[in-house]
Symmetry: C2
Subunit: 263 residues, 2 copies
């Protein structure tokens, strides 16, 4: 399993992915799943992948390795490095993903399908960053202001914090923190999501540099963030008043009877 | 979908279930899924169910309606009302669930299986409360101190708060609050989990009364709890220091370049 997250606010784009892959709990490895596809001064395009590793690696190779594309004998409609908009980049990536999933699904049939998907995000020229979720068939949806994030893979554990806290007007450092907290939740509840985490920050301002980071397995900042968050959740829950039906003195000692204590 | 949760601490047992059932988003109803199976002064036994509603209703009927059991022509090994321990109660409930799932799965075959499961909890005599998760085949596991909760149904959204905060030595009001917060997370992220919530509190002390409550759709306490929790998560995230790589002044303005800012 994998968890991949893209957060898109007015201030810019944050993408985070873990690195754990597994073919069962006795076959666990660490692979980079957040990839820089293009970085030529004009374009900064990144993809986070989930699903069958051979399919996602094939899709990425189609997009970034010219030889690979030619060997496959099926040139993509246009090289990613010539995309004139992020929408066009998403179409090209969708085409590559559909083909790669097709090859792998054919090999795996009829037992299973490759089922890989991508988060594609980045900026081209002076246009603001955009973010897309590309499904295994190659079709895609774009992240829009009403729901300023997209997720792939093991999405549920890390979602409550996003649903409650992410806002379009957040600054980039806040967005990064929320993203890391979302990963912390997923990692605590699912062994198949794990550090190192790869992270990229693409500011909306075209003259601000892209930031790429790896959060290691023993990263002290992340450890502190996780510990502090646990403490805060415990303290926060304790600060909420007790439910009316649990107030002291309202426990009626009457073995086996049912107390309906609401006024 | 459904979400059912049992929390077992030294102070006692808390069980919570929502009431939403659906056969698609255009066919949504509200059904009680937390049932009192026995309450005879000696035994307080409750079950929360998930999965196919016809199968869970059949299982509950087998356990509580004498006529139903006889009509089925298959008497359970022992009536639930005569169980001498919660372990025995779990075996009896497992038997009922296996049969009910069998009937419904046969009717639905080959398209799908009933797949209903139960949380069974309660106390008998002076023994402390116990909690079991009964799988569709009738086998079951018991909640033990290392992991003081069990979940059924839509479990993932509501799990992070449990993994971080629940402790075996918590008082019952705190346990109830954590349970409600877990439901709040599930309800915000999944439409198919919804109020009213049914809740039962079984204190470990045999001379303290069982509390049964329903939290309605417009319950003011729950609304306040949810709003306060959202505010708290936002404030808590804001209070965590920014990541080292997002510190002000470390953004190097260099369009398209990659800044590796870690010292």
């Amino acid at each position: 399993m994998t968890y991949g997250l893209g957060l898109l606010a007015d201030a810019g784009l944050v993408m985070i992915a873990d690195t754990r892959t597994n073919g069962g709990v006795d076959n666990v490895s660490s692979y980079r799943k957040l990839h820089r596809l293009v970085g030529d001064g004009e374009r900064d395009i990144f993809a986070a992948s989930c699903g069958n590793l051979s399919a996602t690696q094939a899709a990425i190779a189609l997009l970034v390795e010219k030889e690979e594309e030619e060997e496959a004998g099926e040139r993509l409609a246009r090289p990613l490095a010539e995309a004139r908009s992020m929408f066009q980049a998403a179409r090209i990536a969708g085409e590559a993903l559909r083909r790669a999933n097709g090859w792998v699904s054919e090999a795996l049939a009829p037992a299973r399908k490759a089922g890989s998907c991508l988060l594609l995000g980045g900026r081209i020229g002076d246009a603001p960053p955009r973010l897309f979720l590309i499904y295994e068939e190659g079709n895609f949806i774009e992240c829009k202001p009403d729901a300023p994030f997209l997720q792939i893979g093991e999405t549920k554990y890390g979602r409550p914090i996003l649903d409650r806290v992410v806002r379009r007007d957040m600054a980039l450092p806040a967005l990064v923190k929320i993203g890391l907290l979302s990963f912390d939740s997923a990692m605590r509840s699912n062994l198949s999501v794990a550090r190192p985490l790869d992270l990229v920050v693409v500011p909306a301002a075209a003259d601000e540099a892209v930031i790429e980071e790896r959060i290691g397995e023993d990263d002290a900042y992340f450890d502190a963030l996780s510990a502090r968050w646990s403490r805060l959740l415990g303290e926060g829950a304790a600060a909420i008043p007790d439910p009316w039906f649990m107030s002291p003195g309202r426990h009626v000692p009457a073995a086996g009877s049912v107390a309906r204590l609401r006024p």
